[in-house]
Amino acid sequence: MVKFDVRNLSVRFGAFNALKGITIRVNANEILAIIGPSNSGKTTFLRTLNRMNELERAAIMSGTVELDGTPINAISAEALRKRVGMVFALPLPLPLSIFDNAAYGIRMHGGKSKQAVREAVEKALKQAYIWDEVKDRLGESAFKLSGGQQQRLCIARTLAVEPEVILFDEPCSGLDPISTAAIEEAMLKLKSVYTIVLVTNNVKQAARVGDRTAFFLMGDMVEIDKTDKIFTAPSDKRTGDYIMGKFG
């Protein structure tokens, strides 16, 4: 089943063409990994899917992006972002307690009793493998956690809203190998329920968790295929060169 159907997507920031006509389909319950050097448009692509690019006033978009067959511009930004969650490159807790961080999204959408919020927070913290570490200190500031814990809290915060799709924007770029492994493990478990798009600078991470992998270069999508195929027999020489570490 196709979750996101992106056709001929171009995004421009002023005179800079960040994406040049990308066509891509994201299937439900897969992990789509996107690799490529910096400035290749990976993050811009990700931020198109939940309409975060609109926050930049200079951004101009063309082409169509459909979520479950509905153009995303026909959905309000708030409703879209409730269905399409995002985890940022750096751990970005809000200046609130651990509990309030995890509960933030649910509370903003409203309509849930205190008990229901509490249950949803616990469930999300468990899904992000951080419950055991924080269950006794939920009232403490989220900034007291380590970087890896903060990032898992951010994942829990996104999960608590119960989106359909989660966009990961280089979620492990600032983390140690153990925290990275914990987050990758979480992702692999989550894909049974969620659709995941993972942008990563770490080629090996794409190989470990991606069902399919797309290679972006200078605003173009060079190729997309099953992860095994991309890493063993890429059809484009540039993909092979990038994976081998010849550039990037």
Binding site: L80, K82, L94, T158, V161
Partner: protein
Amino acid sequence: MKNSKTTQKIAFFFLLLATLLIILPVGLIVVIIVVKGLPAISWSFIFDMPKDGMRAGGIWPAIVGTICLVAGAVLFALLIGVMAAIYLSEYARDNLLTRIIKLAIVNLSGVPSVIFGLFGLSLFVVFLKFGSSIIAGSLTLGIMVLPIIIAASRVALESVPHSFREVSLSLGASKWQTIRHIVLPNAIPGIMTGTILEIGRAAGETAPILFTVAAFYLPHLPGSIFDQAMALPYHLYVISTQVPNVDEKIRYGTALVLLILVLFVNLVAIIVRSKFRKKKKW
């Protein structure tokens, strides 16, 4: 080498001297007012009505008047100022209109206080028919402190990290929810700093209240915000220059009370600010 070190020492000495000179007037003001005013301070001086043409009795109505004026001015200026600052820093695009608004704010802060007094007289007292009243005086003082409150609020709002806004929006919160729950609470300490600065100015200014509220001699408390009231800075002016044979200690006592009052109001604001700072978790 030795020569350059000596030069440096001399330079440091003069820089230190200049800095110490700043302490001098502050210290002298406080010492003179405390020494000359303290003998006048008593319960009856603070809580009694003035008597004998202000040559005896207390200054209670002036204290109450000043508290009412400052409270009204700060309330009005915070309400309008914070809303304007939110609009300017969160919503407004950079266009001709917002540039005119920003220019107006800058110019407003350069207007002499006596002009605010005349403006308040013509708009609130005469045109809006409030008469000489606490509300007219408060609004006039409020407009006077507005530019600083707006400027401080804008800086405070803009210093809240952009990433907090992005995170909040990415979780499906609306722009207003983001401002209400994330941006504004984290901007409050900065807004309070601007407010604290302006409380002292609002309490001490004479010119803006001269035509809009201040009563020369009114030995009873105001009954409503549409009544005239006495105010400490104007009362001080009156007993210092307009009424003959006022005991020196009454004049300095009045000044001391004004100082303490401003200090006290600032203290409250500082406590509120530190409470919000403690809540700040980054």
